[in-house]
């Protein structure tokens, strides 16, 4: 190869150096151009996230503007303590306005937009009320049920797959469980509506066929593949030396799995659960189809539930463009977006750093 180059150098009319520089000059432009274009396109994903932020907030914003105008005209400010009324996931930007709302809670009859923190969600009526409490509570309830079902099942299944299963069986189990991720959520929702609702009602004998419990379990199904796959990855990522050392000391596979591998994989499993929560929280179709969609405040898991995302899905189609109701639905969307964004950031930065620190110190 080098010989060839030398020969080329001596034989050719141009020196090798000249050839190189010629090539460089000729192709530099297309190279430079390609790089710029590729870079610009890659920036698009950042731009999309920012645009989502802007446009979802933009449509939600008029509610607060309206409130501010009204705050000037309304002299009647009754102090009411709504301490901690807004959940932590609410946008920091809007905190001031939320305070405004709680002050003007008396004036609900005329100003529907100031009922955001009240306890009734009745957007379509002569005196519309946009109290998001039942929706928050409903979402929380369903998410909790889904998580209590999905997290243990998928973590245990992941432990079985990575620790106890024989390699050949593992090769089958993993793709089969990941099939569940390929089920469209509308199909899971349909299954919950047609089959699970009836079966559960026969077992538990509760009154309303569609309720938070059925919806929660169905939404758990959607979260299982996420939690399972990420947990399995986290368990497999634990250095083999850990396992071998433990087994070598005479511990059983069960002891190794639960006292050595599982603790080492905890940050990864947390990240898996956090992303699972995000999936459940934002799930729309299953919530629409299986939870019954009645906005009520109740702690009974067998009562009908209306989640935040299902509210958007159910009501946005019938809403007047630019109406208060429309803005409130976008406000709900903003809250959902902030919450999932925060969850993702948590999983991405906090837990990932924990994982890195863990293994680096032990290497």
């Amino acid at each position: 190869m080098i010989k060839d180059l030398v020969r080329l150098k001596s034989k050719g009319q141009n020196t090798a150096k000249e050839i190189v520089s010629f090539n460089n000059k000729k192709f530099r432009f297309s190279d430079w151009f390609a790089e710029k274009v590729i870079k610009a396109v890659a920036f698009l994903s950042i731009a999309i996230v920012i645009l989502i932020f802007i446009f979802v907030f933009r449509e939600a914003f008029p509610i607060f503007k309206m409130d501010k105008k009204e705050a000037v005209s309304t002299e009647l400010l009754v102090q009411e303590s709504y301490g901690g009324a807004e959940t932590g996931s609410a946008s920091v930007k809007t905190t001031d306005n939320q305070v405004d709302n709680s002050n003007k809670i008396q004036a609900t009859d005329e100003k529907p937009s100031s009922t955001l923190l009240s306890k009734t969600w009745m957007p379509v009526s002569d005196n519309p009320r946009y109290g998001m409490w039942p929706l928050f509570l409903g979402t929380l309830k369903v998410t909790l049920i889904a998580l209590l079902f999905a997290a243990p099942v998928s973590i245990l299944a992941a432990i079985y797959t990575s620790m106890f299963a024989k390699p050949r069986i593992r090769e089958i189990i993993k793709p089969v469980i990941e099939l569940l991720a390929g089920f469209p959520s509308v199909v899971i929702g349909f299954f919950a509506l047609m089959v699970m609702a009836t079966v559960f009602q026969n077992i538990f004998g509760y009154a309303s066929r569609l309720n938070g419990f059925v919806g929660g379990i169905a939404m758990g199904l959607a979260a299982i593949p996420i939690i399972y796959t990420l947990t399995e990855d986290a368990l497999t990522a634990v250095p083999r030396t850990f396992t071998e050392a433990s087994l070598g000391l005479g511990a059983s596979r069960r002891q190794t799995a639960f006292y050595v591998v599982l603790p080492a994989a905890v940050p990864g499993i947390f990240a898996a659960v956090v992303l699972g929560i995000g999936r459940i929280f934002g799930e729309t179709m299953i919530a629409l189809m299986a939870t019954g969609n009645a906005a009520m405040i109740s702690m009974n898991p067998f009562d009908s539930v209306r989640t935040l995302s299902a509210t958007i899905g159910a009501e946005m189609a019938e809403v007047v463009f630019g109406d208060t109701h429309y803005n409130v639905l976008f406000l709900i969307g903003s809250l959902l977006f902030i919450f999932t964004f925060a969850l993702n950031a948590l999983a991405e930065f906090y837990f990932k750093n924990m994982i890195i620190r863990r293994y680096q110190s032990k290497k």
Binding site: N24, I38, K39, V56, I177, S185, V187, L275, M316, L336
Partner: protein, 297 residues
Amino acid sequence: MNRNVKDTIVEGITGVSVLLIIFIIVSILAVTIVGGWPNLNWTFLSEFPKDGMTKGGIFPAIVGTAMMTIIMAVAAVPFGVITAIYLAEYASEKSVIAKTIRFAVKTLAVVPSIIFGLFGLGFFIGFIGKNMDGLLNGGELKWGQPNILWASFTMALLTLPVVIVSVEEAIRTIPREMREASLALGATKWQTIRRVVLPGSVSGILTGTILAVSRGAGEVAPILFTGAAYFLSDLPRSLSDQFMSLGYHIYIMSTQSSNVDATLPIQFATTLVLLLLTFSLNAVAVTLRYRIRKRAK
């Protein structure tokens, strides 16, 4: 308790969890197949809905889903491939830009699908569409309302991360030696990417496209208010028409229909069609991906 007994019990519990998940998967499949198979025939696939949607087939929903996913793929795949090339070939792992892009892609992957629907409504319809109407049609409403184009674009944003992840994975399996050989022969970086990296990652691009199509065909929330229609007597003829979709059809028929029981066979058969569609697409993608991973090892 005896240690061996404890071991067996605990292992048994974890095994039962696996069986539970598999049982659920099998029962979803079984219920859909048993409920849908008897009604699944050629007339069902090739006819329009009849008699107020209580009879007839799902032809427009199949065509609508196909058209929407094709437009979606045309929009999402090029962007996804280029972003993947940037992440794998140009960006250094430690650069802030690359990290930010990665984080943005992950955010897109976890944002609830309904948010994409809201974004489509606020951005594509309310902003771009409205302004297009103002400029092109003199304010007449054409683009500023839900249609197949905006629905496909919205879905494209949702499936972008799927494409990026698949393609990047494939690009990274191409041996470094191949790139170095190309560069050593005097090819520039862009030539190397075009002639060596891209041809080598065709299977990855294909996997990403198939996964995106399968995801897009199944999602309903993003198209709820960006273009899906309850019933249309005609197929969409232009990009500014609304369309029917399989997933939306299932949702509407099972929850909003006036007579849910009468249309049960249609619902099950539609679900079966959608499931078969996404399943076969996923099966192809998984096989392709398995091959790519094998090459990586």
